[in-house]
Symmetry: C2
Subunit: 423 residues, 2 copies
């Protein structure tokens, strides 16, 4: 599919040096090209790799650790104390590898991450061959990675320097939220992102409470506040946005800021609903994220597509809302654009990176196949992902990880479970 | 787990003559029993088979046939004309086998079905070894199975006689809805269910429109109308119930009627929201269904559990609403009770049927494993179902169907696709 809505059959994609060299009828491909490796997959869909625009990979080690609890109790009594006790280089490395394994096996080729020890995340992604945007955290409270906002920024800038020319890893600023980052720090971050021409990802309008608190404190909604500080631009990634006013929509349209929708997390934590179809209708770029496994509890972007479509229909009262093509677009090219890499990836076009996945459609769960787009969104296709390539490199072959050790990752997850649960 | 909330480890289940003979520590089981076949599954969950209380199996042949459309257009321009043209014995047999294959592979051991040619459904289930409640359709409009309401009932009664003593198949009455069945027919059905001591399944309160129409026509809500006709009892299965008033809750409590919740279908068709947690809090039995694949588009009851939990939290605004244990209960013992088989199946208890499934938890997607219940509901466990037994008979072994031919079923789905799409 050159465009998301286009389904081509009897078609081949030619890859050379990690890039898409041609998209053409298979007959013609056979005549014109002499490939070193050929894949013949008549019953498969070949599509762009999925782009997971928001998550906290290492939190996979807390999957199911404390579910079904009120939000503040979940954070204050379970997640935060556990993080404080255990988060370090080893936790982040092992947790990120677990997250990457799950994402690769379900067809994600690029992910954004926001967590402590972002240097570990960047190194893990590079080693595994995945694309990532590492949004290094900036908060006012101390962690084992940094003590002060200044130190978070300083360490983040070192990371930025280290990966400036890296093909797989982008470094972005990840100020946690307007209620955990001071105005002074925000101003500093905004100034630096302008200077370095880099992206900024922030949790925004996650709950009604966040809005009420901000209106009480600042006299305006968080999005408006960020705008006044000069933060909103096509390099701004607003995560969640479950509370949207007409003025918010105008601001998003006007500034070109992106909305990163995490449907599972919004429902599981009862945060609210992001009116994705309305945003898309206004020309706002809406992409998808899984959020961390502690608030999902999976990193399956096919499931996020499905839930995004279902809740958009359910909430609007219109079953024609957010069709399969729109859901797929959100998970691919919109994700790439959200991370500032729309020219490089997110669709099958000549010159773009060969970030590709194949999905077996000859299964009980996906037959009959009147409309492949519909099945991809509604029929749980993550389990049918067979091959995954990033820049033409095969990272999953026949459902098996090629650059990560599944057995080792599971063993490490068990090691952390016994440590954390036994503590 | 003898009770849904109980997770036992180092435990064995002993099966004899299709029934659970003992649940005891593995050490003790080894001493006390000398089994002809033993399964050692240290990294697996063994749990009751899932009960899918509402569906239209044969509609799997219309999976993804016409998605993302307004409800009336979907029905009038796509589903109904297609059914009118193609539905017959062969369509129902092939479609039901496709549905059963998908359900078995995702851990469902018993399903309810409401479709034309219910004789085919009953025969298919018996042949495959699955448990089913066949709710034969009763409507006022003609189909290729029957012409008049009288004929629907007559044919249904013949079916009832044929399966009266069958261990796997129950026959129930399936009057479609109060707006497609006349009062006279409803009264006849209600009288017969009383006489035969059999169940009645009906689509009820699916949309706000249905309520508004009934109030306009009958002067009361559909549930109230059924009550006045004497239809509500512990043998009544109300499917959907997305519109619930306080008076509705009182009626459900008072009469012991069951609510069958189909979360995917309610969201995909934008029908409304069933307040499951509120109903459960009132002591009403709420079970789960997938509905047909045309409005889902899968028959994965693990996905229904997950979505039921997510929307209950999202709509109540409380993340503690509908916890994992409640979701699992809805998919197992509540389903068995809803279908009037709570004494026979739905939990692992001595004397109950050996309707059991095993799920591999040693996977990337399910580790770490702090709380198995949480993973079963939130981490897409359908794909990890390895073995499925019904009455002790192995129907799925290591993920492979034992009584149905996967290749044949897929070929037939393709045959119908080419017929229907090519027409």
């Amino acid at each position: 599919m050159a465009q998301p809505e286009q389904v081509l059959t009897q078609c081949s994609v030619v890859v050379d040096a990690g890039k898409i060299a041609a998209v053409l009828p298979t007959d013609e491909a056979k005549r014109r090209f002499n490939a070193t490796t050929e894949y013949h997959l008549p019953d498969y869909v070949l599509m762009p790799g999925l782009v997971n625009t928001h998550g906290h990979g290492a939190m996979s080690l807390l999957r199911g650790f404390a579910d079904d609890l009120p939000l503040q109790e979940w954070l204050s009594d379970h997640i935060w104390p556990t993080e404080e006790r255990w988060v370090g280089e080893e936790f982040v490395r092992d947790g990120t590898e677990l997250a990457m394994a799950e994402m690769l096996l379900s067809g994600t080729t690029c992910f954004s991450d926001m967590y402590f020890f972002p240097d570990q995340v960047a190194a893990c992604a590079r080693k595994a061959g995945m694309k990532t945007q590492v949004a290094f955290p900036v908060v006012e409270f101390p962690s084992s990675w940094a003590r002060t906002a200044e130190q978070y920024i300083h360490k983040g800038l070192e990371l930025y320097d280290e990966y400036k020319t890296d093909a797989l890893v982008d470094i972005a600023f990840g100020p946690h939220a307007i209620y955990t980052v001071s105005d002074d720090t925000l101003i500093k971050v905004i100034s630096l992102t302008g200077e370095l021409d880099t992206a900024i990802q922030i949790h925004l309008h996650e709950t009604a409470q966040e809005i009420a608190d901000a209106v009480g404190k600042d006299g305006c909604r968080p999005l408006e506040k960020l705008h006044r500080l000069g933060a909103l631009s096509p390099q701004t990634q607003c995560v969640h946005m479950t509370q949207i006013s007409d003025a918010d929509i105008e601001l998003l349209v006007h500034t070109g800021a992106h909305v990163l929708h995490c449907p599972q997390s919004n429902m599981k934590l009862a945060s609210g609903f992001c009116p994705t179809a309305q945003l898309l209708d206004n020309g706002i770029n809406v992409a998808l994220g899984t959020d961390g496994a502690a608030s999902n509890n999976s990193l399956n972007l096919f499931a996020a597509m499905n839930l995004a479509a279902l809740i958009a229909k359910g909430f609007s009262g219109d079953p024609a809302t957010l069709n399969a093509n729109q859901a797929l677009t959100m998970a691919t090219i919109n994700g790439a654009r959200g991370l500032g890499r729309g020219e490089e990836m997110g669709s099958i076009e000549v010159g773009k990176a060969a970030d590709l996945i194949t999905i077996d459609m000859a299964t009980i769960q996906t037959q009959p196949l009147y409309n492949p787009l519909s099945q991809l969104v509604n029929s749980d296709c993550s389990r049918r992902v067979s091959n995954v390539w990033v820049d033409g490199q095969l990272l999953v072959a026949d459902g098996e990880l090629q650059t990560l050790s599944q057995a080792e990752i599971i063993n490490k997850a068990r090691y952390w479970q016994s440590k954390i649960a036994g503590a």
